[in-house]
Amino acid sequence: MRLRVVVAAALAVALGVMAATAGASTGRQQANKLTVWLQVDAQSGWPDIVAAANQQFQSDHPGWTVDVQYQNWGDHLQKFDATLAGGNTPDVIEMGNTEMTKYMAAGAFADISSFKSNFANSANWLAGLAKSGMYGGHLYGVPYYAGSRVVTYRTDAWSKAGIKALPTSLSQFTSDLSKLASANKGTQGFSPVYIAGTDWYYAMSFVYDYGGSIAYTHAHKWVGNLDSKASIAGLTAWKNFWLAASKASKTSNEGNPAPYDIFSQGGAGAIIGPGWFSCCTGTKYKSVTAQFVMPSHVRGKAMPGFLGGSDLAVPAPSSNKALAADWIKDFTSTSSERGFQAKGNIPNATNLLGSSVNERAAARSWFVPAAKHWVDVENGNILRTMLSEILGGKFTVKQAATLASDNITATLNQP
């Protein structure tokens, strides 16, 4: 009996020691590893450019490896918050340009102003993108790439429907829709243009096209503007276009299902999205994929496209700030930016701009209000809810827009 007790006690002590030392060894960070968080867009769009940057970094810094972890737009901020609380932040993080302000204001990023001259073409950064990475006169985010929205379409479906020329106005596009619909009556659920119900990036383009806006500042306060006459006209135009164009679920979002998946399955004559969507339209339609700029309701003009973009920032708790800045330098080099451009994105500097469809679309663009709490409007799905209410008929355009506008005013004016 006593022997058993002694053996049991010894085992318990041994286990305890093992547990304690195991905890200690996992607590120690991998000494020569740089952790980079990029979004899945890079994983599916340009993994070769990521690999090239890693290669360059590793040859410049022997003994160091780069661990790239791909994140989803939906939850990467919560994961980042968790690392901020725990102290094990990545060394580089890709942030959406609409997400930067809140985190810069809270002091989440390291000041990399001293490294600015190292970054390629930093004197010529696109104004809109560069602004999203600056706070209080200091640089916190390096512009990575930008993108407008374009129409990716199937040339075979369009010619079969008897459409001779690309539309130059919204009304022309609308009549093309009915041609596409009747030519594809045999395919159940075919969308002339597949657009997700709550794709607010696209819906707001109509608002800005008709002269409205999401919000503006007046006497240091934000005022929601979706209930203005111009905005309501834009939303009404969007509603009519959507109902004629898309057979998507009225509550779906633009990420799920991916529009290019619907395209590749033959369920759409065209899709709206970033320029790089052309990567993934499937082997069947690869040779008949082309793009054009979404036309405005005014003949000959382009509809303003959402100028999305990403910045690369170095979280403040990182212990490898100089190395992180060096990796960013490698990833945003001129050759990398040319690579992003070739994939259908807009490079980060004016001296690199070309005349691709995407870049022409960016000539007329809109951007979200530069408010600290804008990301709360996005996360609270205020615009998405408004759009699905309009499409579903739960509220009239005016009612839904007024509700959303009041909500936006309240959210943006939080302390």
């Binding site: 939906g74 939850d75 901020l77 919560q78 918050d81 901020l84 609380a85 809140k102 985190y103 204001a105 809270a106 002091g107 989440a108 159940q188 659920g189 709550t198 057979k247 998507a248 679920s249 009225k250 509550t251 779906s252 979002n253 990420g255 799920n256 299902p257 619907i262 369920g267 403040a316 708790p317 709360d376 996360n379 609270g380 799905n381 205020i382 998405r384 809810t385 699905s388 579903g392």
Partner: protein
Amino acid sequence: MPYGLILPVVVVLGAILGYPIYSLVRLSLQQYGLFELIRHQGRYVGLHNFGLVLHDPVFWHTVVRTIIFTIANVGLTMVIGTLTALLLVRVSAWVRILLTAGLVLVWAMPPVVAVQVWNWMTNYQNGVLNYVLTELHVGNFFHHDWYATTFSQLGIVTVLIVWGALPFVIITVYAALSQVPAELVEAAEIDGARPWRVFLDVTMPVIRPVLLILTSLSILWDFGVFTQPYLLIGQPAIHPGNYLMAIYLFEEGYFKNDYGRGAAISLLMLVIVAAMSVVYVRKMVRIGEVQ
């Protein structure tokens, strides 16, 4: 002396359970946002967070919606569970084995995996549910959006949660039913009692304690459910009109980075669930006394 022997357990439990609760209460009394998170330092504001939450109409709407949701879920789980357990008693051994095996498989499925499968089944573009219902001529369910309205969204979530909760309830009630003396049931049937009376007068008193525990647990779980509704409805479709309490807490606390407010909401949730459980337990005990 005997109490001294349980001291180690009490200390460990106190540390594991007590410290997080103390931490939570402390957090609810602080202003703790993104700014404070980065500096690991909050600012005391007393009961300000509680005041903010209690004055927020979204909170009250969410409470009512979650209570109705909980009643629906718990009601369906307990009724279907008890009926199925009664069925299990009567069927042959083979059927019982098959049914139990199926229930255990459902029970063993991780919730996130289950949500993914249900997501695919109810998919708008190519879900099997739409396909089967259309083929069976129940109606035209081609491209039916099961997540079009709040009622439909929470309805599908209810089906998923009840499906996942039934195995535990069925197997536990089945075990409890084995305690019902067969002679009593036979005697009651010989006396001419109808099945409903047999259940109420003979079976129920024996299994009441088990039903009590299961219902209290179900209330606890279903009131605070998060995984299934959040993943099934999907973050882009979540808005104050279809919030449940745990999702409201997550949105306020984590998405808006107001951790102090999130802590206040979770403490208020605790109070509400405790109140619901007390009301229910007292009612059940009182029914027992009358009998």
